[in-house]
């Protein structure tokens, strides 16, 4: 996937400084010295090729009333696909990765309060038959940084 300098500059701006105004694309065009049409077509291309996963609001799940946690399971190699389809079937499961450890399946899950989380984890245990499922809720957040500067390097 090819990104030119204007794409990179645009990505940097729209990650943190997207204008919440009537004509945001026109405003971006003025900042970057190009046209509104150019901004819209660049954003369309960056969304279509997956560089931008989503353009919109990024929400604070806790303030929306959701609770999140990280879980890990020991899943036998031959059951990975069937267990993954059960786990991934929950809307609240947003990330799921296989990792190089005895605890090989790692997923994050969001639910409306700890009641819904416990319910989901109980169902996952029952449906998959995996007993080694650990629930690792965060107790302290030291750092969260979601923006990367794309113009350097």
């Amino acid at each position: 996937m090819e990104l030119d300098n204007l794409d990179r500059e645009l990505l940097n701006i729209v990650q943190s400084g997207f204008p919440v105004t009537r004509e945001p694309y026109k405003e971006l065009a003025e900042i970057m010295g190009t046209t509104e049409e150019d901004i819209i077509s660049r954003l369309k291309r960056l969304i279509d090729n997956g560089t931008i996963r989503r353009l919109g609001g990024i929400f604070d799940s806790r303030r929306l009333g959701y609770t999140g946690t990280l879980c890990a399971m020991k899943v036998p190699e031959e059951n990975i696909d069937s267990v993954a389809s059960i786990v991934n079937g929950y809307n609240g499961v947003t990330h799921n990765y296989l990792r190089n450890n005895e605890y090989n399946m790692w997923f994050t899950v969001l639910g409306r309060g700890s009641g819904e989380l416990d319910k989901i984890l109980g169902e996952i245990r029952a449906k998959t038959g995996v007993e080694d499922l650990i629930n690792l809720p965060a107790v302290r957040m030291f750092k969260i940084k979601v923006n990367f500067n794309l113009t350097e390097g």
Partner: protein
């Protein structure tokens, strides 16, 4: 508590902003409010922290940060604050959390480290370990992405 209108705004804004000249006007029309009401409401929700930021969520793997690892650390509870601060000081660390332990799992601090190669991630973990003086850690790479989606709120 969120009002019903705020819930509807969250549901609308998580679907992606339309790529048209007046995107907020298009969204407002669906919600049955005016463009200016929606803009005010969004700014208010940002001020209150319901909306963390407004803009693009970018896929980093495609942008040169091709490798990332979750490094898990076994840190004595009374040393967690000091170690967490040192871990967080590394610019290559995007996330740093302390988490509960459970069962046979003893690791309590977690850092996401980003490098351009797998070896860079290993080197980073070693540097962080030396800087903090924490020797019990594991570097967990993702071998396969099974799911990665933005959360969709209030859809049930």
């Amino acid at each position: 508590m969120l009002s019903q209108l705020e819930i509807e705004i969250v549901k609308a804004l998580q679907e992606g902003l339309p790529l048209v000249s007046r995107p907020f006007s298009a969204v407002a029309e669906k919600l049955g409010i005016t463009e200016d009401m929606l803009l005010d409401k969004i700014r208010d929700m940002m001020k209150r922290g319901l909306i963390r930021r407004f803009g693009a969520a970018v896929r980093h793997q495609d942008l040169g940060y091709t490798s990332n690892a979750m490094v898990v650390w076994n840190v004595p509870e009374d040393d967690a604050e000091r170690a967490g601060a040192i871990f967080s000081g590394f610019s290559e660390v995007s996330h740093c959390y302390q988490r509960e332990t459970g069962g046979d799992w003893i690791y309590n601090l977690y850092t996401m480290v980003h490098g351009r190669t797998v070896n860079e991630c290993w080197d980073l973990a070693r540097s962080i370990s030396e800087a903090a003086g924490i020797e019990d850690y594991m570097v967990l790479f993702s071998e396969r992405e099974l799911k990665k989606k933005s959360m969709r709120y209030f859809i049930e």
